[in-house]
C-alpha cells in the first residue's frame, strides 16, 4: 500500500543493541537467582556408579547438588524420538551416552561458588568401549528411515544403473564433511522461576518459545498454559537453540529443588557437547552425462553420524533430487549410531553439506566434459521440479547466474587450473548453484490499534538476529498506512499468539503472512468507521470508547502453495588467493546473487546473505570440531581451538538481490533468506581452490596442510 515493504529501514532493535540495553536471557533481572552449573560425564558410554558430592556441598553458598541418585523423577512422559521429540539427559537414570552428558547439577548462591563446587564433584563410573568415528564404523550404517520434517530418506526416479552404462562421462566420488559447531556468541542460557508448584516461567535463549513451553509442560506434568516462556532477544541461534536441550529442564528442576529462581548458562566448552552440531557426513556422488555434459544419471548417497539414543539425520541429498534436470536420480540417507551427543539442524541443514558434494561433483564434471562450469549448469537447468513433478512457484536462477557472472567477470576465466596469478599468489575462480527450500508453517498474530494511534502487533515469534522486529513492523506499517515509528511489534512470549520456531528460513513468510492478515482484518474493522478517508485510526478508536480495537489472524499455508515446488535460488562466485609456499586459503572476493521472492527489507536481508556466506567460509576453510576417537571427547572445544572466521578472513562480500515476484508461495510472495547464503558457497570455494591449484579437495575443511 504505502510501500514500506522493500525499504532498507535501519533495524528497529539496533539502538537497544548498540547501547547495551537489549536484555538477553541471562540478563533479565531476577532478584536472588541462584546459579546452576552442569557437571558433565567424563566418559562417553557406560554407567554412573556413584557421585561424590560431599566436597561440593561443603562449599559456602552451595544450595544443592542434584545427581541421578537424588534428582526428582519427572512426572511427565519421556520424549519419544519416533515422534520427533528430542531425548534429554536429565538425571533420570545412570546411563551415559556421550562425553559431557549432564550427570550432576550444582546450585549455589553465586556463580563463582557454583563453578568451583562443580569442579569438586567426583564421579565413579563403569566405562564401556567407545565407538566414535564415522569412518571406522561405516559398516554399521543403517537406513535413516525418514528425515523428520524433511520427509522420506530416499528417492528414486528412472534407472540410474542403466543410464550410467550409456553415459559418456562417468564420475563417482566421495566427499566428506566435518562436524560444525553452531557457536552462537551468546551461550545457551535459561532462567527458571517457579510460581508455586504448578506455574513456571522460563526465560530461555531459544529459537522456539512454544517448543520450550510444550517440552517443559510435558516433562513436569503441567498445563501448557501454566508454563510461560520468554525470549525477547537472542544472541544467535543457527539451529542449536531450535528446541530445548537437557539444560533447560535441568534449570527448572534445579529451581524447584532450591525453591528459588535459578540461572543456568552453559560454558563455551559445553556448547560443543550438549547442544547438537552439524554431523560428519560421507557422501558418495555418481554422475553420468552425455558428451555435452547433460546429466543422464545422478545418485547421491549420504551417510551421517548420529547418537545411539536419539535421531537426527543430516539431509544432504535433498537438493540433488530437483536442482538439475535429470531423468534418472536416486538419493539415500543412512546413519551410523555412535557414542556421541545428538547432532541437530545447523544453519542450512542438508544444503550446506549436500551442495558441497553435489556442486563439487558438478565442477568435476565440467572439467571432465571440458565445459565451462556455468555453461554446464545452464545445460542442466530444470524448469520444473522433476522429483515432486510440480512446477516451481518461481525459479529465477538463470538471472542469478547471469548477473553474478557478469559482475564477477567470469567471462575472463581461463578454464585451465593454475593459470591465474596475482603477485606471488595463485588465484582461482569457482562457482556453484545455490538453492534452499522456502517453507512456511502456521502462525498467528494480533494487531491492536490503541487510542493514541500506536499500532501494537504481537506474535509469539523470535528475533534471532534476522530482523523479525523490523520486517514485521514494516509489514504492519504498510498494511495500515501508519508511520513505522508508530508500530510496536512484540514477540518472544508464549502469552502472545502462537508462532513457529525461528528456523528453516520460514519466519518472514509464516509470521509475515499472519501479521499482514491481522492488520488487514483490523483495517477492515476500522475503515468503515472512518469519517473521512484519511481520518487517523486513533480518532476511530477514541470514538469507540474502548482503549483499543484489535484483530487476530491465524495464517495457514494457502492451498495454492501445495501445487508448487517452493524454493529460493541463487548463484555464488568465489575468488580465492593462495600463497603457494604457505597455502592458507584466503577469500579474495565473493559475488553472490539470490532470488528469494519478496524482500521486505534489503538491508537486513543483505546481512542475512553475508552472514550465510561467512558461515560458508568458516565451513569450507576453518571450522572443525575434532573428536578424539578414543574418548569421544571433542578436542577443539573452545573458540581458540575451533576457528570461527575472524574479521580478516572475510573480504567485502558483494550480494546481488535479484528481483523475483513469486505469486504462489504465499500471499506476500516471501520465501525467506536466513540460510540460503550457506548453500553452494562451500563448493564454490572448493572449486576455486581447484582452479587455483589443480588440487581437488573433497574433504572439508580445506586447511593449509591439505594444500602443502
Amino acid at each position: 500500500m504505502k510501500g514500506d515493504i522493500g525499504k532498507p529501514f535501519d533495524r528497529i532493535d539496533a539502538r537497544a543493541k548498540v547501547t547495551g540495553t537489549a536484555t538477553y536471557t541471562s540478563e533479565i533481572g531476577v532478584a536472588n537467582a541462584a546459579h546452576a552449573v552442569i557437571v558433565g560425564s567424563p566418559i562417553a558410554r557406560g554407567r554412573i556408579l556413584g557421585i561424590e558430592t560431599a566436597a561440593a556441598q561443603q562449599q559456602a553458598g552451595v544450595l544443592a547438588v542434584l545427581t541421578p541418585a537424588n534428582a526428582p523423577q519427572l512426572p511427565g512422559a519421556a520424549p519419544d524420538p519416533k515422534k520427533g521429540e528430542r531425548v534429554l539427559n536429565v538425571l533420570q537414570d545412570d546411563r551415559v551416552w556421550y562425553v559431557d552428558q549432564p550427570i550432576a547439577v550444582v546450585i549455589a548462591d553465586t556463580l563463582e561458588r557454583a563453578q568451583h563446587a562443580a569442579a569438586l564433584v567426583a564421579v565413579k563410573h563403569e566405562a564401556a568401549p567407545v565407538d566414535a568415528a564415522l569412518d571406522a564404523s561405516i559398516g554399521r550404517a543403517i537406513d535413516a528411515g525418514d528425515l523428520g520434517p524433511n520427509g522420506k530418506a530416499s528417492s528414486a526416479r528412472g534407472d540410474v544403473a542403466s543410464a550410467m552404462a550409456t553415459a559418456t562421462h562417468r564420475l563417482e566420488q566421495v566427499y566428506r564433511t566435518q562436524i560444525q559447531a553452531h557457536n552462537p556468541i551468546e551461550p545457551h542460557a535459561t532462567t527458571a522461576v517457579w510460581h508455586g508448584d504448578n506455574r513456571l516461567t522460563i526465560y530461555d535463549a531459544t529459537q522456539g518459545i512454544f517448543n520450550v513451553r510444550d517440552v517443559l509442560a510435558k516433562r513436569f506434568g503441567l498445563e501448557p498454559k501454566n508454563v510461560r516462556v520468554i525470549s525477547h532477544y537472542l544472541g544467535g541461534g543457527f539451529g542449536c537453540k531450535g528446541s530445548p536441550w537437557s539444560h533447560v529442564v535441568l534449570a527448572a528442576m534445579a529451581a524447584r529443588a532450591v525453591k528459588r529462581p535459578v540461572k543456568l548458562v552453559l560454558t563455551r566448552p559445553q556448547m560443543f557437547a550438549l547442544v547438537g552440531y552439524r554431523p560428519t557426513t560421507i557422501q558418495r556422488i555418481t554422475l553420468g552425462a552425455d558428451a555435452r555434459g547433460k546429466l543422464v544419471a545422478l545418485s547421491h548417497d549420504t551417510t551421517a553420524e548420529c547418537s545411539r539414543f536419539d535421531r537426527f539425520v543430516e539431509p544432504s541429498g535433498l537438493q540433488s533430487r530437483h536442482l538439475y534436470s535429470c531423468p534418472n536420480v536416486t538419493t539415500s540417507h543412512r546413519i551410523v549410531e555412535l557414542d556421541v551427543g545428538t547432532p541437530t539442524f545447523t544453519r542450512g541443514p542438508g544444503a550446506t553439506s549436500g551442495t558441497f558434494a553435489l556442486e563439487s561433483a558438478m565442477d568435476e564434471l565440467a572439467y571432465a566434459a571440458n565445459v565451462d562450469p556455468v555453461e554446464l549448469r545452464l545445460r542442466n537447468h530444470a524448469t520444473r521440479d522433476e522429483d515432486e513433478d510440480k512446477p516451481y512457484s518461481a525459479k529465477t536462477i538463470l538471472q542469478c547466474y547471469a548477473q553474478a557472472a557478469q559482475r564477477f567477470g567470469w567471462s575472463k576465466r581461463p578454464m585451465k587450473p593454475g593459470s591465474l596469478r596475482d603477485g606471488g599468489k595463485l588465484v582461482g575462480w569457482g562457482m556453484a548453484s545455490v538453492t534452499y527450500p522456502a517453507k512456511q508453517r502456521p502462525a498467528a498474530a494480533t494487531a491492536r490499534m490503541l487510542a493514541d494511534g500506536t499500532l501494537v502487533v504481537q506474535s509469539g515469534t523470535q528475533d534471532i538476529g534476522t530482523g523479525t522486529y523490523t520486517i514485521m513492523s514494516q509489514i504492519a506499517a504498510d498494511a495500515l498506512d501508519v508511520p513505522l515509528e508508530r508500530v510496536r511489534f512484540e514477540l518472544g512470549d508464549t502469552a502472545l499468539p502462537e508462532a513457529p520456531l525461528s528456523a528453516g528460513s520460514m519466519t518472514a513468510a509464516s509470521v509475515g503472512v499472519a501479521v499482514a492478515g491481522a492488520c488487514a482484518k483490523l483495517r477492515a474493522e476500522l475503515a468503515p468507521q472512518r469519517r473521512a478517508p484519511d481520518e487517523p485510526w486513533a480518532a476511530v478508536v477514541a470514538r469507540s470508547g474502548k482503549p483499543e480495537i484489535l484483530a487476530t489472524y491465524a495464517a495457514v499455508d494457502s492451498p495454492e502453495r501445495a501445487k508448487y515446488s517452493c524454493h529460493s535460488f541463487g548463484a555464488c562466485f568465489v575468488e580465492v588467493r593462495i600463497d603457494p609456499l604457505l597455502p592458507l586459503v584466503e577469500i579474495g572476493r565473493i559475488v553472490a546473487a539470490y532470488a528469494a521472492g519478496t524482500i521486505v527489507n534489503p538491508k537486513t536481508t543483505r546481512s542475512q546473505y553475508i552472514g550465510g556466506l561467512v558461515w560458508g567460509i568458516g565451513y569450507a576453510l576453518r571450522e572443525v570440531s575434532v573428536r578424539d576417537p578414543r574418548s569421544a571427547r571433542i578436542v577443539t572445544r573452545d573458540l581458540s581451538d575451533y576457528h570461527v572466521p575472524v574479521e580478516t578472513d572475510v573480504p567485502d562480500l558483494e550480494v546481488i538481490q535479484v528481483d523475483e515476484v513469486d505469486r504462489h508461495v504465499n500471499e506476500l510472495g516471501i520465501k525467506g533468506v536466513g540460510e540460503i547464503g550457506m548453500s553452494g558457497v562451500t563448493a564454490a570455494i572448493a572449486n576455486a581452490v581447484f582452479h587455483a591449484t589443480g588440487k581437488r579437495i573433497r574433504e572439508l575443511p580445506i586447511t593449509i596442510d591439505k594444500l602443502l
Binding site: 604457505l582 592458507l584 578436542v635 573452545d638 581458540s640 596442510d705
Partner: protein, 334 residues
C-alpha cells in the same frame, strides 16, 4: 576457580616477599585467570603485580631494556623496538588479539602455558597438569603439538610468539629472588619436557621477572618473524620462524633461527644457523638451512605436515628479509 587470597603488591620487595610455592603472580592475567577458571592452575594466593613500576621500555647497558610489565602492545608499538628489533614487534603483533596484547605483559608472555587441549580440559591424562597420569596427546589428536623436543611424556607445544623472537635476539631475562637478582639467558629459560613436563622453566616460584635486556647485536635489526596459522589472525602458530642475520659483503655473518609452534619450547635451530654462516645467500642455501632447522623432528600422525610447513616458514622469513635487504641496497645484496 579455587578460592584464593588476593594480595596487591605495592613494591617489588613486597611482591617477592609474598611469593611462595602455592602463590602466583598475576600481571595481565590472560593466562593465569583463564587457567584458574579451568582449575588447571589452583594457587592459594595470588599476588597482583600489575601496579608495580616495571613497565618501562628504556635504554639499558647492552641495548634496549624492556620491563617485565610492559604490555605486549606497548612493546610492539615502540619505535625503538620496531627499528632495532623488528622481529620482536612482528612476533608480538602476530600474537593473540589487540585486547589481549593490551593486557599481556612481557613476563607473563614468557611464562604462559601450553594450549594443549588435553592439558586444558581438566580430565584427560596429562603429565604436565597431573604428573604421572600419562599423555593423552601422544596417541591422540596432536595437530597443534610439537615435532621437536618432545618426549613420550609430553609433546605439548610452547605457544609463545614473543619468546621465539627473544630467542633469536639472545635476550637476557633478569629475575629478582628473595635474596638476589640474577640473569638468565633466554636460551636457558625453557626446559625440555623429558620426564618432568610439569617443570617448564628455570624461574623459581619466588622469583619475579623484572625486565628483559635486548642486546644490540649486529643481526637484531635485520630480523623477521613469520607466523603460519589456521586462520588469518587470532590463532596460535602452526609454525613460526624468527630469522635474523647480518649480511657482510654479500655473505651471511652471524645468524639466528628460532622456531615456534613446532617445539616443546621456543626452538633455537643452531644447526641451521651453522649452515648459513659464511655463505652467500641463495635459494639453495635457504633450502639447506631450513631443512637443517627441522633435523631431528619426530612428527606424529596429525602433525607430520608441520615439518614441511616449518621449513617453508623459515624459507619465507629468509625470502622476505632478502627482499627487504634488496630494497634497501637497491638490489646489490644478491
Amino acid at each position: 576457580m579455587q578460592p584464593f587470597t588476593y594480595v596487591r603488591a605495592r613494591t617489588v620487595d613486597e611482591a617477592v616477599a609474598a611469593a611462595g610455592s602455592d602463590t602466583r603472580f598475576v600481571a595481565g592475567g590472560t593466562t593465569l585467570v583463564d587457567l584458574m577458571r579451568l582449575e588447571v592452575m589452583t594457587p592459594r594466593t595470588i599476588v597482583d603485580i600489575s601496579g608495580l613500576p616495571l613497565d618501562a621500555i628504556e635504554e639499558g647497558p647492552t641495548g634496549l631494556r624492556v620491563g617485565a610489565l610492559a604490555r605486549n602492545s606497548a612493546v610492539a608499538r615502540d619505535p625503538r623496538v620496531r627499528a632495532r628489533y623488528p622481529v620482536l614487534a612482528q612476533a608480538l603483533e602476530s600474537g593473540a588479539s589487540p585486547q589481549l596484547r593490551n593486557m599481556a605483559t612481557v613476563g607473563g608472555n614468557l611464562l604462559q602455558r601450553t594450549r594443549c587441549s588435553y592439558f586444558r580440559d581438566g580430565v584427560s591424562a596429562c603429565n604436565k597438569r597431573a604428573p604421572g597420569t600419562g599423555c593423552a596427546a601422544f596417541d591422540g589428536y596432536h595437530r597443534m603439538h610439537a615435532v621437536l623436543g618432545g618426549s613420550e611424556h609430553c609433546i605439548a607445544a610452547h605457544p609463545s610468539d614473543m619468546a621465539v623472537a627473544l630467542l633469536a635476539l639472545d635476550a637476557i631475562v633478569h629475575v629478582r629472588g628473595p635474596l638476589a637478582t640474577r640473569t638468565v639467558p633466554i636460551a636457558d629459560l625453557f626446559l625440555l619436557p623429558k620426564d618432568t613436563p610439569h617443570v617448564e622453566h628455570t624461574i623459581g616460584a619466588n622469583e619475579l621477572i623484572v625486565h628483559v635486556d635486548l642486546p644490540a647485536t649486529p643481526f637484531a635489526a635485520h630480523s623477521r618473524y613469520v607466523k603460519v596459522r589456521d586462520r588469518s589472525e587470532f590463532a596460535f602458530a602452526l609454525a613460526s620462524a624468527a630469522v635474523a642475520f647480518e649480511l657482510r659483503s654479500g655473505r651471511v655473518g652471524e645468524a639466528r633461527i628460532a622456531l615456534g609452534g613446532v617445539g616443546t619450547r621456543p626452538w633455537r635451530a643452531r644447526e641451521a644457523e651453522a649452515v648459513l654462516a659464511g655463505q652467500p645467500p641463495s635459494p639453495e642455501l635457504v633450502k639447506k638451512a631450513s631443512a637443517a632447522a627441522l633435523e631431528g623432528a619426530r612428527p606424529r600422525k596429525d602433525n607430520a605436515f608441520k615439518v614441511e610447513l616449518a621449513r617453508r616458514t623459515v624459507a619465507r622469513a629468509f625470502e622476505e628479509l632478502l627482499v627487504a635487504q634488496d630494497a634497501k641496497d637497491g638490489g646489490g645484496a644478491r
